[in-house]
């Protein structure tokens, strides 16, 4: 496995990254909750960069502080130490060119609003005309495969469809960067595969950078260009893994690829060997 660690593909993508420019840079980020004796260090120190157009996943054992890291990255939470910049500017509040898809669609979509209103909501205070808003809502719903659902309510849709609405909301916002927090953790496997492919398509079609938090090893390998592996809390970056699998990805072909299996095993070992108890022989 390590033979391919600095493969040609890896070197090539590193060059490509440099050429594309950096969209997010995380520099010595640390986050401690509370102070004094009750202080809990969630993130010790995390550094990484995300290039424009890149698909980067953040993976770690549960309780690794993935959500904390994501909240810092999106400006929802202030880091204790270090700095994060987005498009060259330090993040102090959620940036206008960044959209977030939350894990729990049942909470992030508002049941008192129609689907169209949910998607339109972020556009309302942005000085965008009514006709333009309606056009964007229609396009976004079309793009996620839910045309004509404008007048329905989120609770009239299945879980997978609701997460598509949440995705449409972020698309209508026209972000440069899409941040997703375990977005498919609560849908069934078949729907999850469909949504994974949808995200890849949309990222390609809209040319977005994607930052994707997940605890699912297969999902991370399947989707990403690179994977940032965190240790258990207090988190540091354990390794940044290059995913040198060809694109476009395909559920059957990509997952049948030998390289997929290798990467998957490597990632699994990186995540699993950090259990508090000594690793089991069969792990």
């Amino acid at each position: 496995m390590r033979l391919l660690g600095r493969s040609d593909a890896g070197a090539a993508s590193a060059d490509a990254r440099e050429a594309a420019g950096t969209v997010i840079s995380v520099d010595g980020l640390g986050k401690t909750y509370g102070a004094g004796e009750d202080a809990k260090v969630a993130i010790e120190r995390v550094d990484f960069e995300v290039a424009t157009g890149e698909f980067v996943s953040i993976v770690g054992p549960s309780g690794a502080g993935k959500t904390t890291l994501l909240k810092c990255l999106t400006g929802l939470l202030e880091p204790t130490t270090g700095r994060i910049s987005f498009e060259g500017r330090e993040i102090a509040e959620p940036p206008a060119r960044m959209a977030i898809v939350f894990q729990d669609y049942a909470r992030s979509l508002f049941p008192w609003m129609t689907v169209a209103r949910n998607v339109e909501l972020p556009l309302l205070d942005k000085g965008i005309g009514k006709a333009e808003r309606r056009r964007r809502v229609g396009e976004a719903l079309e793009a996620v495969g839910l045309p004509g659902t404008e007048r329905r309510f989120p609770w009239q849709l299945s879980g997978g469809m609701q997460q598509r609405v949440a995705l449409a909301r972020s698309l209508a916002y026209k972000p440069d960067c899409l941040v997703m927090d375990e977005p498919f953790a609560s849908v069934d496997a078949q729907t999850r595969f469909e949504l994974e492919d949808l995200v890849l398509e949309l990222r390609h079609a809209f040319g977005m950078t994607v930052l994707f938090v997940t605890h699912d090893i297969d999902e991370a390998v399947y989707l990403s260009d690179r994977i940032v592996v965190l240790t258990r809390s207090p988190a540091v970056v354990r390794k940044i893994l290059e995913v040198d699998l060809p694109r476009p990805r395909d559920q059957a072909a990509t997952k049948g690829h030998q390289r997929f299996a290798e990467l998957r095993t490597e990632l699994l070992e990186l995540v699993q060997t950090q259990r508090p108890t000594s690793p089991r022989p069969d792990a």
Partner: protein, 257 residues
């Protein structure tokens, strides 16, 4: 439709039986306390469904409407402002609970010396007493807005007013409605009590005056009128509530009580 008809039939049979029994058993009654229902209904019609309504019903409804209206507006506005400020909510919590627990009629002696026995006193006591259940529930509802909803609002950079009207208020609405329901019951109670204690008009005054003049059928007519008024207001409230909380009933099955 047939199912609906069955439910209506199920709900109506007992009241019909009770009224029929009352009518039959009280027919020709010579009892001072329990005059025939026929007489009571006749007085009811004469007093509350004709010209008498203006004299006895309207003052009560005006007081109720003004008092409750003030309580609703003040309670919801203050509740949102206090609920959105953690420090204000913590500081005011004991006071709100104190006034919520204080039985409204206990304030009547004060209200009478402060405002006399006119409309002002009644509107004040209705508004002040029904304010606290509304306020308490509004504060709680606003504080209980889901953290994810707040994060969505921040992440998509919604304006402050947009946050309040598109997210905070609707999200708190099930609890706000629960507070409004309790507030309405409190308001009706204080409407009557304030008229029983110090008044020259209104349903409460009519009941008391009839009793003092041994017009027992009139007294009963007033009581029937109050019962019906309560039912009508409750039903109207239910209609509004089902409309406002349509999404909540669809996702949770029932409203907060």
């Amino acid at each position: 439709m047939r199912r609906r008809a069955r439910i209506v039939a199920l709900e109506l049979w007992l009241p019909v039986v009770v009224v029929a029994a009352w009518w039959t058993l009280s027919a020709g009654s010579q009892s001072l306390y329990f005059p025939p229902l026929e007489t009571i209904l006749e007085e009811f019609r004469a007093t509350f469904l004709s010209s008498g309504a203006d004299e006895h019903l309207r003052p009560s409804l005006v007081n109720l409407g003004l008092g409750y209206g003030i309580a609703v507006v003040t309670g919801v506005v203050a509740g949102v402002l206090i609920g959105m400020n953690r420090w204000a909510a913590a500081a005011l919590d004991p006071l709100v609970h104190f006034f919520r627990a204080l039985p409204g009629p206990a304030l009547l002696p004060f209200a009478i010396i402060a405002f006399g026995i006119g409309t002002t006193m009644k509107v004040w006591i209705i508004a002040f007493t029904s304010l606290f259940p509304v306020l308490l529930n509004a504060i709680d509802g606003v504080r209980g807005v889901d953290p994810t909803a707040r994060e969505v609002a921040r992440a998509y950079r919604l304006g402050r007013l947009r946050r309040i009207f598109a997210i905070v208020l609707p999200s708190a609405s099930p609890q706000i409605m629960a507070g409004l329901r309790v507030g309405l019951q409190t308001a009706i109670l204080l409407m009557v009590v304030s008229e029983l204690v110090a008044s020259t008009s209104g349903i409460g005054f009519f009941i008391l005056q009839s009793q003092q003049q041994f017009e027992i059928a009139d007294m009963w007519a007033g009581i029937v009128a109050l019962g019906l008024l309560g039912c009508i207001l409750n039903a109207a409230f239910g209609l509004v509530e089902r409309r406002v909380l349509r999404w909540y009933i669809a996702t949770h099955g029932e409203v907060v009580r």
